[in-house]
């Protein structure tokens, strides 16, 4: 009898251990893994933008179109850019470059490409995104890079290499904050956002939301949105977040056009800042307080005369119309 009791006790103990670990892993799956699965592969990163939608010289592409008076010939500048600006520089190529300027490895664009590796080495369109793209322009692989402001590290890399980069502002964009669409909070002040990332606010209840921890999500160092966030934070340092925050309700940041025009996921929503929504009207008027410029970046010593001609065209009415039709806000009136 005593033996049987011991056996039952032993089995119960082993099953309890298994049940404890199992419930922990199931909880972790529901709270985190489920949201990360099929969401972090090289493919999903490449699919930060579906480049296929914006291929120049394709009739059914989603490019903005203008009748450009500038038609480039001779030595054509190689264009590259951040994910959110692919629609802009692909439209520029489509408008002012001769057809055949964009070529692909294997002769055709492949959906399997990661970060535009499918563009051939001699193609005038490349897609390296911000981190690799800033390095490529300093290294002389690219002539014009379309991007948000660089990070301090990217500026430092140019300095180390003795390369002087010129940053020509060509359009305006809103730096936006977003939350899950079910989060009842719709509007925050810029100071509250700094308070969230600075560690002053750690629960949504402190900001008129539900009693849930805030998970302030940051981005990879060197990305356009992380550099913009560092600028937005100013003197306020980023606080180290509690591990429990990962299980709370998140807030993240990006650029308006990327959220609205490229990803367009209706399960997230952009927040108003200081009562102003990030609409083109509010960006233009300055009512929305987090407006960022985006740039055509080129090496000061680039001997290709077409580089400056193209940048000048981007600031002309035709170029600005193209930028506006791409979904951004023009910088010149």
């Amino acid at each position: 009898m005593a033996r049987r009791k011991t056996l039952v006790w032993q089995i119960v103990l082993i099953l309890t251990v298994i049940a404890l670990f199992l419930s922990f892993n199931v909880g972790l799956y529901a709270a985190l893994t489920r949201r990360l699965s099929n969401n972090f592969s090289g493919t999903s990163q490449a699919k930060m933008i579906d480049v296929r939608r914006y291929l120049p010289f394709e009739e059914d592409s989603d490019l903005a179109r203008v009748n450009a008076t500038l038609k480039l010939s001779g030595e054509l500048p190689v264009l590259d850019g951040a994910a959110a600006l692919v629609p802009v520089y692909a439209s520029v190529i489509n408008a002012v470059y001769p057809s055949g300027s964009v070529t692909y490895e294997g002769g055709a664009f492949s959906d399997d490409n990661y970060y535009g590796e499918n563009f051939a080495a001699d193609s005038k369109m490349q897609y390296k995104n911000t981190v690799r793209g800033y390095k490529a322009i300093v290294d002389g692989e690219t002539d014009i890079f379309f991007s948000a402001a660089p990070s301090e590290e990217q500026k430092a890399y140019a300095d180390e290499q003795g390369v002087q980069l010129h940053y020509e502002p060509i359009g305006l964009e809103a730096f936006v904050f977003f939350v899950n669409a079910k989060n009842p909070v719709n509007d925050l002040t810029a100071e509250q956002i700094r308070g969230i990332y600075g560690g002053t606010y750690t629960n949504w209840a402190e900001l008129g939301g539900p009693d849930r921890p805030i998970n302030p999500v940051t981005r990879l160092a060197g990305s356009g949105s992380q550099s913009a966030m560092e600028k937005f934070m100013g003197e306020t340092p980023f606080a180290k977040k509690s591990p429990l925050a990962f299980f709370g309700a998140s807030i993240g940041y990006s650029f308006r056009y990327y959220m609205e025009g490229i990803v367009d996921n209706n399960e997230v929503k952009m927040l108003s800042l200081n009562g102003a929504a990030p609409s083109p009207e509010n960006i233009r008027s300055g009512a929305y307080p987090a407006v960022a410029q985006f740039y055509a970046v080129y090496r000061e010593d680039d001997p290709n005369l077409n580089v400056k001609a193209l940048v000048a065209w981007l600031l002309s009415d035709e170029g600005q119309t193209l930028i506006e039709r791409s979904g951004y806000v023009r910088i010149t009136s």
Partner: protein
């Protein structure tokens, strides 16, 4: 079950469970830093409803 056998079995079960949990956790950490945060936030659980 003999005490010695039970202890061995318990250790094996715990090692397996801890290993699985550590792998699961490591996967989450790696995936978190490489995922699209838009989809990460979109798939957030909201038990309170809209």
């Amino acid at each position: 079950m003999k005490e010695k056998t039970f202890r061995r079995l318990l250790i094996i079960v715990m090692v397996v469970c801890i290993t699985v949990t550590v792998i699961h956790f490591a996967y989450d950490v790696y995936a978190y830093w490489h995922c699209s945060i838009i989809y990460f936030i979109a798939k957030e659980l909201w038990p309170y409803g809209a």
